[in-house]
């Protein structure tokens, strides 16, 4: 095949590398030798039943958990080891969005977004406010600038949380079941924002229950089962011909 023009999402040097990761909570082994790669611009969906370790995996990638074995590298930073100096660097390159939004309840929407810009990136308030306006328009919430989190619907709060992460201009965005706490109609507005992000070429890893979203948006699907990567592959391929009984059962149950 002539290499004149590579397809947009052809595997390049991976931006996220997970190698043989082991994570234990006491005697419980939650991740048992997990590994996969995500290339820049790719959207990876991690799916699986609850308790399969998928959220723990994402938290390890975000550097929120320390791992007992293996390695995780994100944007060239070594993650997952306690006291890693790369942690601070990692924060600049990776954004995380939580299931429970985790907005700061005592701050306005705008201040939620500008807090890290002024404290971490040392931007002026004006600069930061301009950036906040930019990302708020991206998620369609320009008019909620001065509102407080409790005045917003769950979907709106989650969009603010996404905007808050985006403002720091991360290279990779992590989404941890971001629509699980939302009603269906609110889920749609959050997924729309995420799809829009994917179209703009953001590298994303999302733990999700939304199979429709995974099929539509993800380039790569990682099926987790019993702390292991049970199946992995390009989305269309994987859904068309599951190799394991567990995955076909899972897909069937989610439909």
């Amino acid at each position: 095949m002539p290499a004149a023009e590579a397809p947009r999402k052809a595997p390049r040097e991976p931006i996220v590398q997970v190698r043989n990761v082991v994570k234990e909570f006491g005697p419980l082994r939650v991740l048992d030798g997990v590994g996969f790669d995500v290339a820049p611009g790719q959207v990876a969906a991690i799916v699986g039943r609850s308790g399969s370790g998928k959220s723990t995996l994402l938290r390890c990638i975000a550097g929120l958990e320390t791992v007992q074995g293996g390695s995780i590298s994100v944007c060239g930073h070594d993650v997952g080891r306690p006291g890693s100096a790369a942690r601070a660097q990692l924060r600049r390159d990776v954004g995380m969005v939580f299931q429970s939004y985790n907005l700061f309840p005592h701050l306005t929407v705008e201040r939620n977004i500008t807090l890290a810009l002024t404290l971490v990136k040392k931007q002026s308030r004006d600069q930061a406010n301009a950036k906040a306006a930019e990302v708020l328009s991206l998620v369609g919430l320009t008019d909620k600038r001065t509102a407080y989190p409790e005045q917003l619907s769950g979907g709106q709060q989650q969009r603010v949380a996404i905007a808050r992460s985006l403002a720091l201009q991360p290279q990779v965005m992590l989404f941890d079941e971001v629509t699980s706490a939302l009603d269906p109609e609110l889920t749609a507005e959050v997924l729309a924002v995420m799809e829009d992000l994917a179209r703009r070429g953001m590298t994303m890893i999302t733990v999700t229950h939304e199979m429709g979203f995974a099929r539509r948006v993800a380039d790569l699907v990682v099926f987790m089962h019993e702390g292991k990567v049970w199946e992995i592959g390009p989305t269309a391929e994987l859904f068309a011909s599951p190799k394991t009984a567990e995955f076909s059962q899972f897909v069937a149950s989610e439909l």
């Binding site: 975000a62 929120l64 924060r91 995380m96 700061f104 890290a116 404290l119 971490v120 808050r164 992460s165």
Partner: protein
């Protein structure tokens, strides 16, 4: 009952009461500010500190909360001076009040800090905030907002309790009253006046803390709801 109330001493002694009240305000504002600082640091240690730091803070809080302020004041003023550390009555008063206030504030602020969910810390961590930045911007302010009613009651209680420092003749309102009382022999009337001045001060303090709360907690000012 044929008692004749006589408040005529007020005609030329009222400036004493004003001066005494002002001294009490100075004494207690300093003690509240320092006590809040001590209590906040101790509360942070109690929640986030290493085990070897938590234990002494726990002992401090229990010792102070289970002994009378009067005895604490005596230990600081008479006790320390007998050990060779001579402190003025006013300095001793401030030290005793700060130590006392710090212990109560520790417990109040601890409850506030514990009410901040771990996920808030994770969110701040993911945004790249340092530990100190997280504590200041994400933990302390909302924690304080949550316990502000308890905190301001404690501040008012401390203001009232500062009257006890009159027992070592620290210069404040009650000591002033004791002086006027011994000059005029109108004990009952003098203490009625002083009670009213304290009552006025306690309302003033409550109003002041309410105002400070408005300035400090913008969200509360706008929405009026509890955090």
């Amino acid at each position: 009952m044929s008692y004749q109330f006589d408040f005529s001493f007020l005609a030329d002694r009222w400036p004493d009461f004003v001066a005494g009240a002002w001294l009490t305000v100075q004494l207690t504002v300093v003690s509240i500010a320092l006590g809040l600082a001590v209590g906040t640091v101790c509360a942070l240690i109690r929640v986030y500190g290493a085990r070897w730091m938590k234990a002494p803070v726990g002992v401090y809080v229990e010792l102070i909360r289970n002994t009378p302020l009067l005895v604490q004041i005596f230990i600081v003023y008479f006790g320390l001076s007998s050990l060779g550390l001579k402190l003025s009555a006013e300095v001793s008063a401030v030290i005793a009040l700060v130590v006392n206030m710090g212990a109560y504030t520790t417990e109040i602020m601890r409850a506030g800090i514990q009410s901040i969910q771990r996920t808030q810390l994770e969110a701040a961590d993911c945004l790249g905030l340092t530990r100190l930045q997280t504590i200041v911007h994400v933990v302390l302010l909302p924690a304080m907002e949550r316990v502000y009613p308890a905190l301001s009651s404690q501040f008012v209680l401390l203001m009232l309790a500062s009257s006890i420092t009159s027992q070592i003749s620290a210069e404040e309102l009650t000591a002033t009253a004791n002086l006027v009382q011994s000059d005029t022999y109108r004990s009952f009337e003098v203490y009625i006046v002083v009670a009213l001045v304290y009552l006025a001060l306690s309302f003033l303090y409550r109003f002041g803390f309410w105002l400070i709360g408005l300035v400090l907690f913008a969200r509360k000012r706008k929405l009026g709801t509890a955090l």
